[in-house]
């Protein structure tokens, strides 16, 4: 299973992404588990709403943080997210 760069990316319906006040970080919650996210991972996942593909997510984050060259890092993270079932593509 590898990321299809053309298709939109959706955060999994069977996981939950939320801000944890006590931990001061975003986490992914799923049966029997929790993953703590750093800020950049959380920013990427928040854009996985089923309307944007890889290029659109990269574009949006590069604009937001006034930077460029994020494609490889974001692609690598989304591959991991896909392997872990945090995101889906249809």
């Amino acid at each position: 299973m590898t990321l299809n760069t053309d298709l939109p990316i959706q955060f999994s319906r069977t996981h939950r992404l939320q801000w944890e006040e006590a931990q001061q970080k975003n986490v992914i919650l799923y049966p029997e588990g929790m993953v703590e996210l750093n800020q950049s991972s959380a920013e990427i996942l928040k854009l996985c709403d089923g309307t944007r593909n890889l290029a659109q997510i990269v574009n949006e984050l590069e604009q937001k943080f006034s930077t460029s060259g994020l494609t490889n890092d974001i692609n690598a993270f989304l591959e991991i997210a896909l392997q872990n079932g945090w995101i889906t593509q249809h």
Binding site: R16, Y30, P31
Partner: protein, 375 residues
Amino acid sequence: MAGLLNTNPTPPRWLLAELTYACPLQCPYCSNPIDYAKYQTELTTDDWKRVLTQARKMGAVQLGFSGGEPLTRQDLAELVKHARDLGYYSNLITSGYGLTEEKIIQLKEAGLDHIQVSIQASSQELNDHIAGTKSFEHKKEVAHLVKKHGYPMVLCVVIHRENIHQMPEILAMAEELGADYLELANTQYYGWAHTNRDLLLPTKAQFEKAEAIAQAFKESVAGKMKIYYVVPDFYEDRPKACMNGWGTTFLTIAPDGVALPCHSARELPGLDCPNVNDYSIEEIWNQSKAFNFFRGHDWMKEPCRSCDEKDKDFGGCHCQAYLLTGDMYNADPVCSKSPHHGVIQEAIDAAAKNSLSDNEKPLVFRNSKNSKLLS
């Protein structure tokens, strides 16, 4: 309140809400205490809401509604709604008994995140025998309904000598039911399972064969189904890091409001576990004697005290040390460094001998009658 003052423990992350000891099933490995029948009182709806609110404020986020059978509580949907409003990720840990499609929809609307259905075996005959209740077909139907209504489906099968030979069929059943997660929980020998150990503990050969089948399956379904495999620690030479460390992560509230650092801790002597009717969750977690009992290293005896693995397993399981050596301060005897390690082999031998005996003793089923008889 009395007890040590620990100024800076990590906050609870996981809350197990044992709503009731009532259960229509009679599984002979139930983790509820043997003497559960003497604890008749149950927290009210408002008590539970207060507990959920207080624990959430401290940082608890994973929540299990358990029991007994939590579906016997009429206020379950109300508690689920309260939990969702607070931001918990909540799990219903159920036998499936009494779970209708209407209820599944109602709980989904209330904000329940997932449902963990237990099945006792891959065949109706054995499932119904172990559960002590006719329940197999209904459980399979419930599993389908859970899936149909968009929950992640978690199937839990407790593994022991009576069903370990069914491992291939159990895995096929999980695949057929479309489980997203499969928990293969080798029996942990506390509570009722301790009483029935001679009948439940598999041989090493049985365990190794089943494990090889499960591992091969795990690889074949990677990406589709996640397998949680709970290792039977009697066949390990190092203990498990029980509860991720005492009073570091897990908080269990028993049906009558007693707060426990682990769901078996009620069996340990002299802990004086506090009740949520008397103290706030914050007081209990930070200040109570019970939650501070095995924090840190000061309680340790040898071989744990000087062991370079003490920060890895925290001395293992105190309930196991107590049940098998009579002293909860001892190292978990599963550890090969423990001077009591021989009791593990004795238990394995006793179970094997019993299985070969002509007059194998019968399973003691978990019900109120047996609870009263044994306590």
